[in-house]
Amino acid sequence: MAAASFTAAKFLAPVAGRSGGDRPAPFLPAPSSARPLRRTRPAQRLLAVSSDVLAGNKAAPAAAAQPAVTREEALELYEDMVLGRNFEDMCAQMYYRGKMFGFVHLYNGQEAVSTGFIKLLNQPDCVVSTYRDHVHALSKGVPARSVMAELFGKATGCCRGQGGSMHMFSEPHNVLGGFAFIGEGIPVATGAAFAAKYRHEVLKQSSPDGLDVTLAFFGDGTANNGQFFECLNMAQLWKLPIVFVVENNLWAIGMSHIRATSDPEIWKKGPAFGMPGVHVDGMDVLKVREVAKEAIDRARRGEGPTLVECETYRFRGHSLADPDELRRPDEKSHYAARDPIMSLKKYIIEQSLASEAELKSIEKRIDDVVEEAVDFADASPLPPRSQLLENVFADPKGFGIGPDGKYRCEDPKFTQGTAQV
């Protein structure tokens, strides 16, 4: 299985996101739809989604004008992305100061995907994520202080300190985790989508907007995993209100997506299962938002699942323990130039939606939020030792009541001759 030596010349520019123009937008490449970039070079074999990376070409020209967005929406998006970025930077600082430990995976660079999708959701909609889940939780509304406290392992964290970085859950915000294992969340999301559909169609219980939607986020490596394919099938078979969002950042730790996948264009796997598959520039929050709107609306109307592939990039290594030696500097700098926050800032200023001063004040406010989150987490208590044996079973005190009438987990001899907890 020799690794293909890939050269820039073989790549094509990625298909840019759809504009807000024609409704209803056909997701499958319909014969008459405008897909200029792919049509111009039909003979060439389409390879990776990140076409212009090694070619050194300029970013693909926008297929259409930027979709319209109101001032309020733009500022909301900006604030959310800045929160995500600052929070992750603070995580790195805290990690190197020893305040948090374990495996921490940061989301820098991918904020457009989280913000673009999750800011369109309502409270009853569910988000299922991977181990790179801090920003998904933040975008869904989990307070920064809860997430930071969870990272520090404190009792005030969103999972009471039990989960840590890779397992952010929040019942009030319908964040269904946080999965350390790739692909494990996708079937869970599929089940949650089924529950939403049942609630709506049989129990007639959900909102007048339509079905509650579930978003499943996962990476390019996961798109080669069996669970992914099984769920694409089930979701389409039962027309579930779910959107499969692939955050294709080209690397699975040290494995290049292009070298690990027979057909690197993940969006194509959607139509193979009968659902629309679309590719979008994940470094541009407005394009992501447009595509997300359509996908989420489809799900809400009961038309079933969509597979959205977002071309994105992580600016840091896979985790804070990853020296990140394998990715080439030109690839990194190419994507650094497409920083989603910088792009949105530029757009806001150019479209006169807000002034620099207002954006600066947002950044300052976010700085304060993140600082406050750290102070809160620092000041919070560690969980009590007895929490170790709690919540193994439904009975919150773990193993029930013993013959002496006390909680078994409080018996020092509980698990072995001389257990000490």
Binding site: M1, G183, G226, M255, L326, Q387, L389, V392, T415, V421
Partner: protein
């Protein structure tokens, strides 16, 4: 040339501290004899750590059998624990390659390769990720020879996987799933305790004509440093090793837990308790004779492992020894193991079977 490569690798990697003070292996007649008699190919020894020893074993395995292959997630650049460093450069990408992220596929693919007469050395990046592969290993690998009436077999299969606590791994980077596989007739499970053991046992596992699951204690990858013979050598499977002789109680463990048990032995010796420490090395098929001989001598047994106590492999040892040595036992078999909870994140120090827990159990058992 091969030696130079290995020495280079060793030199770059070694240098971590010895664990648990003096390991005292030189004192143990069995160990010294074992190394002397099993070493082939001359050459001296070199102090290397666990991942370097594993790396050396893989280099030798690929060198000595042209139809052996190493694959798994991220093995191409050396692996997340550096166990596969230099293999792709030396043997080429046709023999050392990355797989996509699909453990079930990796295991099944490895079984197929092995069934066609090759040595497939598959890496599962963390033992916690082995569960999608569980179906293939239990239902296919273990039963291949049996159900084909020996027409085919996947004896060339070796699954290598880092297991066990690492201090900060949390739920999904710390599990010890050995007990699940010990329950499957047809598979072998091997766990080394140190670099020298790892290299010899891994070479033996790769060359064993049965599918073997080789769990490497990830905590010891850098921490454990030992003199390892530079040549090609194998250590026998299904033979436990008595690494410390004693007369009052028999202690059994495997992998990283042996370091903890050793510390407990030292402390118990200060209280006048003489402990005999056995490294099981191969969990199935396990060396019942050695353990039985030891318990017949001491009359007491304590087993310690990181995996949760209920249904852990210690239970099998306890039941077997109770059956074989019932009249000789002077106290119930003690098990000091992980608690019956998912492997915790912040509570790891309380969850683990620590030296103090073991010491208390030793005293309780001896004074029963």
């Amino acid at each position: 040339m091969a030696m130079k490569v290995l020495r280079e690798v060793g030199r770059k990697r070694s240098g971590a501290a010895w664990i648990g003070g003096s390991r005292g292996f030189a004192d143990c007649a069995a160990a010294a004899m074992g190394v002397a008699e099993r070493r082939e190919g001359g050459g001296g020894t070199k102090a290397v750590n666990l991942f370097t020893a594993v790396n050396q074993a893989l280099h030798i395995a690929l060198d000595t059998d042209p139809r052996s292959y190493v694959f798994g997630e991220d093995v191409g650049f050396g692996g997340v624990f550096r166990c596969t460093t230099g293999l792709a450069d030396r043997f080429g990408k046709n023999r050392v390659f990355n797989t996509p992220l699909c453990e079930q596929g990796i295991a099944g693919f490895a079984i197929g390769l092995a069934a066609m007469g090759n040595r497939a050395i598959a890496e599962i990046q963390f033992a916690d990720y082995i569960f999608p592969a569980f179906d293939q290993l239990v239902n296919e690998a273990a039963k291949f020879r049996y159900r084909s009436g020996n027409e085919f077999n996947c004896g060339g299969l070796t699954i290598r996987s880092p297991y066990g606590a690492v201090g900060h791994g949390g739920h999904y980077h710390s599990q010890s799933p050995e007990a699940f596989f010990c329950h499957v007739p047809g598979l072998k499970v091997v766990i080394p305790r140190s670099p020298r053991e790892a290299k010899g046992l891994l070479l033996a596992s790769i060359r064993d004509p049965n599918p073997v699951i080789f769990f490497e204690p990830k905590w010891l990858y850098r921490l454990s440093v030992e003199e390892v013979p530079e040549g090609d050598y194998m250590l026998p499977l299904s033979q436990a090793e008595v690494i410390r002789k004693g007369s009052d109680i028999t202690l059994i463990g495997w992998g990283a837990q042996l370091a903890v048990l050793e510390q407990a032995c030292e402390d118990a010796a200060k209280d006048g308790i003489s402990c005999e420490l056995i490294d099981l090395r191969t969990l199935i098929p396990w060396d019942k004779e050695t353990v039985e001989a030891s318990v017949s001598k001491t009359g007491k047994l304590l087993i310690s492992h990181e995996a949760p106590i209920t249904g852990g492999f210690g239970a099998e040892i306890a039941a077997s020894i109770a059956e074989r040595c019932f009249l000789r036992l002077e106290a119930p078999v003690a098990r000091v193991c992980g608690l019956d909870t998912p492997f915790p994140l912040v509570y790891e120090p309380f969850y683990m079977p620590t030296k103090n827990k073991i010491l208390d159990a030793i005293k309780a058992t001896v004074n029963y």
